[in-house]
Amino acid sequence: MNIKTLFKSKAEVYTTVTLAALVLVVLPLLLPIFRLNLFGKYLTFGFVGVGLVLLWGRCGILSLGQGVFFGLGGYCMAMFLKLEASDPISTKIQSTPGIPDFMDWNQITKLPWFWEPFKSFPFAMAAILVIPTLVAFGIGWAMFRRRVGGVYFAIITQAIALIISLGIDGNQGYTGGRNGITDLRTLLGMDIRSNVSQYIIYYISALLLFACILFGKYIINSRMGRVLVAIRDREDRVRFSGYDVAMCRSFVFALAALFSGIGGAMFVLQVGFMSPSLIGIVPSIEMVIFAAVGGRLSVIGAVYGVLIVNLGKTTFSEAFPELWLFLMGGTFIAVVMFFPDGLAGLTEPGGPLSKLWQKWGARLLPGLARRIAENHSSTATTTVLAEKTALNEVTNATK
């Protein structure tokens, strides 16, 4: 695999490197640790955003249930941490020591069977990866094989989000109920709330996120990426080109769930709790908003979208809680109606912002604007040229 399979144009390299510099260098240097922790939390939503770009932007499947997979990954992590926190010594005042406190409050005297395996660290880590993926694959396969798609899929996944969040909410003794699983302190003995471990966790989140971004980019630029777009635009032709459309859809749905699950697990490490409020209808649809604002077609754009909307949410809802929902609702309507490709669509070469820049920037900073304009147009032509030369090279080689 070479670099060309990941980045199609120079502009893509720039945006990726900028994001990497921002997340890995600038933010950690600039922000105090508790603010950085907040950004770490946003990054974990970025995992969901990357998945949604592949699933929704590229393949046209809108899932309103991504919170479910975020939650499944998160609960797997939280169950492990909770069991670690509930050793018999620290829970000796309970009527049944050694089980999580909320079980004790609900008169449960024995650890339920499905909690047992989460005592094991390797099991819990595997579960974070496997459970969301398998659940999504099962749901996807059942529905895509029967050609359920579009709005029906959206409605059914939304109903699933409601069912799971209500189900967790209503079974306090087994799940911690509405409050969720709280008071998570240590991971394999390491205090997850100390400054040092906060930095470590932040960097693990960021690196995992970049791994997902690069994998996402690889998929978009691979044959799979073209097939996904083809399924979105001309499903029947793909089927009659011999592809198993239901399987491709299930795959991308499962992959998006895998990303979301990793995000959920990292979320738990960042904030120290997990609750059904991160699973239901509202958080699930909010994740879609983040991706839409950033750009549903671009994995990097979606991550920017997640960071910007969440930063806005935190800042505004602290200062003007009333205005925030108006602003968020308004932004969302505006993005959907006027900028369906989001921020990434605005800023890409040939997009509205670059046109604006060519028109006005040229007057203010003539030299710079010309250079940028040349750069943009040459990236466009060089890609075509590069493909042609590559083709010629291969042909010559075969001769």
């Binding site: 998929i219 691979s222 044959r223 799979m224 073209r226 097939v227 777009v229 083809a230 635009d233 001309r234 029947d236 032709r237 089927r239 009659f240 080109s241 011999g242 592809y243 198993d244 459309v245 399987m247 491709c248 795959f251 075509v384 493909e387 042609k388 590559a390 083709l391 291969v394 042909t395 080689a397 075969t398």
Partner: protein, 248 residues
């Protein structure tokens, strides 16, 4: 006596009904290898439905479809394609946002599974195949053109090219020359003659001149049933056929 093994495609008693309406009924059809077989008939005769039934787009209610001796009725669309049957739709069905090259590449049969899609590489043999098919369909100079800007006739050829990429043993073309100029029709006829040297082709067509030019055998359909079958010469003089075409 010939058996089902001797035919490339062996259809007996094929039928489908929509809510009691029999769109195709008791359809028998035997296709040899390397043959161009044209199905003609007035509108609503059930020609396109027959193709839909063979390629699995519509599920048959009766009968059997055997391809190279094994039953394909009930298989999924992509399984039928992978067995070696290609289908072209009435309206050009191509990926308009992709280039001609990418359109052909995506139709290359290597790596059609999920894993195959992830590791697929544009290797020399893939490129060679793309170029040879592009040459057959007369688009070798337009490989980097976005398919959406091609002329109607070129789109039709591109779709045929996409099927050729799959190297099918049976090709089904639904009105391949609809909307084409006279010159384009001639070129298409040559193309069909050429590709039928290595495979069989079922064509649905209205244009009788075109049919005469390409057909080895002709089946005439009317109201979901077969009215006549044989050489063009033969069916042209069949009184039932004349009745259907001129009598109304």
């Amino acid at each position: 006596m010939s058996t089902e093994k001797d035919f490339l495609l062996y259809i007996e008693g094929l039928g489908v009904s929509f809510d009691g309406f029999k769109a195709v009924d008791g359809f028998n059809f035997y296709l040899n290898t390397n043959t161009v077989h044209v199905i003609i008939g007035p509108n609503g005769a059930g020609k396109t439905t027959v193709l839909d039934l063979i390629c699995g787009k519509t599920k048959a209610t009766d009968g059997s479809v055997k391809f190279k001796g094994s039953e394909i009725r009930g298989l999924k669309e992509h399984e039928i394609v992978r067995a070696g049957i290609g289908r072209k739709f009435q309206n050009p069905s191509i990926y308009e946002n992709l280039t001609v090259l990418e359109n052909l590449e995506i139709s290359h049969p290597k790596g059609r599974g999920v894993f195959g899609c992830l590791v697929f590489q544009r290797t020399p043999d893939v490129v060679e195949r793309i170029q040879s098919v592009a040459k057959d369909i007369g688009l070798q100079d337009r490989l980097d053109t976005e398919a959406g800007v091609l002329s109607h006739g070129q789109k039709q050829w591109l779709e045929i090219g996409m099927l050729l990429m799959q190297n099918p043993e049976l090709l089904m073309l639904d009105e391949p020359v609809a909307g084409m100029s006279v010159r384009e029709r001639e070129e298409t006829a040559q193309l069909i003659r050429k590709i039928s040297k290595e495979r069989s082709v079922i064509v649905i067509e209205h244009d009788m001149e075109f049919v005469k030019e390409i057909a080895d055998r002709v089946t005439v359909m009317h109201l979901g049933k077969i009215l006549a079958e044989g050489s063009m010469e033969h069916v042209q003089h069949d009184p039932k056929v004349i009745e259907v075409y001129i009598g109304h």
